[in-house]
């Protein structure tokens, strides 16, 4: 179990770094969403299902959505 | 009337008058004159009532009540009498003279506050009261100076307030160091505490207490504010600034050295030639002040600047006389203080009258006003005779006593400086006389009239005082001896018209008779002689060239050039530059911070945050 957590955490860190180094903003945003999603899993494993649900809905869904909207309204408009 | 009200009546009336002023234009000036006249009357009735009790007001600060004490002594009576007297004369003068002046109402408001605060400073019975009113005095005079019409007034007042504040903060620091040990600000308790401390510590504290007074008195090396402030202040305020404000600084020095007898503590320190080192240095500074003021005064082209430097040099005399702390010196200092106040106010008022009519302060732009403004001319003439120290005026007597004191103690250098200043004063006071009043009238001043009567009145009063005290110095000596008795200084012998010096007696009545005789003789010769020929001012010859700038050829321009040339290198080494450089460096440092820290980039700010944590963590907060 511990190894699984550690791997998840490693994955989270890697997606976090990836979110920062990707050139295309869309990829960054999706990576950031990944981080939130993994965090939601971690919350679940930490016996916090309510927080996990909130994180999944808000962190992964809502945040990513508003990032995408912002991107669309700014530099993404041309694409 | 309670002493407390003397300080608050002018302040309260000033605010009432300020609001009245919107409706009735002259109400402020007239109301101020009436109030000052009333105060003057009340204060003159206080003479000889030295045993009226102290008054206290409690002011809750820190965690206890602090008593603000007001008390009356012969010393403080002298100063409040002079303050209200000078204030009254100037208020009367301003009724007419300020009709075209835009900042009139602010002038009167601040002037009344200033008078009230000076009364507070002088009547204060403890250091905190002194400090509070001292600050109010500084601030109101700051506003008065910066309400001058010239642009430079703002810079001058700036320099004034910064220097004064530095002084005041030194004083407050010293006061609170003492307060924390004895929990009182009373004069006697502070003195008693200081005499119990180790000598170096108490001397440092005494110096810190003395510096604001020395700054206000315009003594070298803090004289840098004086000329700017005097020359740029409103023309009606310069007389007060020079005549009285500088003297309040002297009051502080007297207060510290004699009234709160810190001199007794200083006596135990290192002595040099029979004087405590502090006093000796003060005397030397006074002497430097005399020389600097004189040399710089001679160079000036602007009449108000010239008189301002003359004030500096005269303050040097007073400081010198007080610092040598012999009975004769003390008497001479106080005499000169009173007399300087009288004649310097006269000079500045007559100059204000000239400015009122000609609207300029440049000497080379005036000339020949003697026929147009005879009263002003007479006032100026008598005042400069007093300033130069020629009998039968009051200025002579006080200078005579000071010389006696200096020579008696054998301070050759100081005596030479005093003589130098005296001779220099002949030169610089003669310059305005000959260039403003004598010489030829400028074409544009053809229609000038004498100033209105209300402006002449103060000048008449002051002229009368100059001659009165010149003939009957005993009037002043009476009060001075009372002060001396209060301060445990041996009184100087005197009668109504004579003073006993170290090397003999001065009898002013005899001298006065001689002078009157001489004057009458000269007058008869003048009447019987042939009239001189008048030449037009622009009737100047050059060698065949057309003159497009006759101003530069005016004889008043660079009047004492040969003399100035001797001291050119001295005058170039200005203290002002040092002060300014220091201030500029601080400003530059600030600019450096601004440009390098506040970059405007949000990311940099975030980085500072991280850096801040890291530095704190490794500077010992955590590790």
């Amino acid at each position: 179990m511990t190894l699984l957590y550690s791997l998840l955490i490693l994955l989270m860190l890697i997606s976090g770094i990836a979110a920062l180094i990707f050139d295309k903003l869309v990829n960054s945003i999706i990576s950031a969403g990944m981080v939130s999603l993994i965090a939601a899993f971690l919350f679940y494993f930490l016996r916090a299902p309510d927080v996990a649900m909130a994180e999944a809905a808000i962190g992964t869904g809502l945040s990513t959505a508003i990032f995408i909207i912002t991107l669309y309204k700014t530099e993404g408009r041309g694409n | 009337m309670s002493l407390f009200y003397y300080t608050f009546i002018p302040i309260v009336i000033a605010f009432i008058a300020y609001f009245l002023n919107k409706k009735i234009k002259l109400s402020l000036a007239i109301l101020n004159s009436v109030v000052f006249a009333y105060l003057f009357y009340q204060i003159s009735r206080l003479y000889n009532q030295w045993n009226i009790p102290h008054e206290t007001i409690s002011y809750y600060m820190f965690d206890r009540e602090i008593q603000l004490i007001f008390q009356l002594t012969p010393l403080s009576w002298l100063f409040i009498f002079m303050t209200t007297g000078a204030g009254l004369l100037i208020a009367i003068f301003t009724i007419k003279s300020q009709q075209e002046y835009v900042l009139r109402s602010s002038f009167h408001l601040n002037f009344a506050i200033l008078i009230g605060s000076i009364l507070g400073v002088v009547l204060a019975g403890d250091f905190l009261t002194l400090f509070i009113f001292w600050e109010i005095m500084t601030w109101s005079s700051f506003f008065l100076i910066s309400s001058g019409e010239k642009k430079a007034a703002q810079k001058a007042s700036y320099r004034y307030i910064i220097l004064s504040t530095i002084g005041a903060y030194l004083m407050v620091t010293a006061l609170f160091i003492i307060y924390n040990q004895i929990h009182t600000f009373g004069y006697n308790q502070v003195a008693a505490h200081l005499s119990g401390l180790p000598i170096t510590e108490s001397i440092i504290l005494i110096i810190m207490l003395a510096i604001p007074f020395i700054i206000k008195a315009g003594v070298f090396p803090f004289h840098v504010w004086v000329n700017g402030a005097h020359s740029n202040a409103p023309k009606e305020f310069s007389p007060f600034l020079s005549g009285l404000m500088l003297k309040v600084g002297i009051y502080g020095v007297i207060l510290l050295l004699y009234f709160v007898p810190l001199y007794n503590i200083l006596k135990e320190s290192v002595n040099y030639r029979g004087l405590p080192i502090f006093n000796y240095i003060l005397a030397i500074f006074g002497c430097i002040t005399v020389i600097t003021g004189t040399i710089l005064a001679i160079r000036q082209e602007d009449v108000k600047r010239l008189v301002a430097f003359s004030s500096i040099s005269q303050m040097g005399y007073i400081i010198m006389a007080l610092a040598i702390s012999t009975p004769l010196g003390f008497t001479g200092g106080l005499l000169h203080l009173m007399n300087h106040m009288i004649f310097k106010t006269t000079i500045f008022l007559s100059i204000a009258a000239v400015i009122y009519r000609t609207k300029t302060t440049k000497m080379s732009e005036m000339g020949g006003l003697i026929f147009k403004m005879p009263v002003t001319f007479t006032a100026y003439l008598i005042a400069i005779i007093a300033l130069a120290g020629i009998p039968p005026t009051n200025g002579f007597i006080s200078k005579w006593v000071i010389y006696q004191a200096l020579i008696d103690k054998g301070y050759i250098f100081l005596s030479v400086a005093a003589f130098f200043g005296s001779i220099g004063s002949f030169m610089y006071v003669f310059k305005p006389l000959s260039t403003i009043f004598l010489g030829q009238l400028k074409p544009e001043h053809e229609n000038i009239k004498e100033v209105p009567f209300l402006m002449q009145l103060p000048m008449f009063v002051l002229m009368a005082l100059i001659l009165l005290f010149g003939i009957l110095p005993g009037l002043q000596m009476n009060l001075i001896n009372q002060i001396s008795q209060l301060l445990n200084i041996q009184p100087v012998g005197f009668t109504l018209y004579s003073i006993t010096g170290a090397f003999g007696k001065w009898n002013s009545l005899v001298i006065f008779s001689l002078f009157v005789g001489g004057f009458l003789l000269a007058f008869i010769i003048f009447i019987s002689a042939k009239k001189s020929k008048q030449v037009g001012l622009m009737d100047t010859y050059t060698s065949g060239e057309y003159m497009d700038d006759p101003e530069a050829y005016h004889y008043a321009y660079q009047y004492f050039r040969p003399f100035d040339r001797v001291f050119d290198s001295f005058a170039a080494r200005s203290l002002t530059v040092i002060y300014d450089t220091f201030a500029q460096n601080i400003v530059k440092l600030g600019n450096l911070f601004r440009k390098s820290i506040v970059t405007g980039n949000g990311q940099t700010y975030a980085f500072y945050m991280v850096l801040f944590i890291v530095i704190l963590a490794f500077a010992g907060w955590i590790i």
Partner: protein
Amino acid sequence: MIDFLEKWSFFGGSVLLILIGLYGVITRKNLIKIFIGLSLMDTGINVLLVSLGYVEGGIAPIITSTINNNSYNFVDPIPQALVLTSIVIGVAVLALGLGVIIKIYEKYNTLDISEIRGLRW
């Protein structure tokens, strides 16, 4: 190794995530990336808070059908409540920030933070 991971993986991982986010905020020039960095920091702190309240072998502090008499066996609910609040606050700030970013883009026509320096000194 496993012991070390068990003890430190959540703590270390969340702190590292915060530091990664911080690094992103400080180094990335693009405003959206900066806000991604901020949201990473938020996520990191949330994981940290929850892991601080985690009790080994405890059960979730929610009412379930399983009967549990041992009240010490619950995972501490307070940090979870804190994290819920913090998530909501975080997303509110994020939304506000992104709204401001849109306005900034309309005004400056760039998302490069080093070019948005009208206010300085």
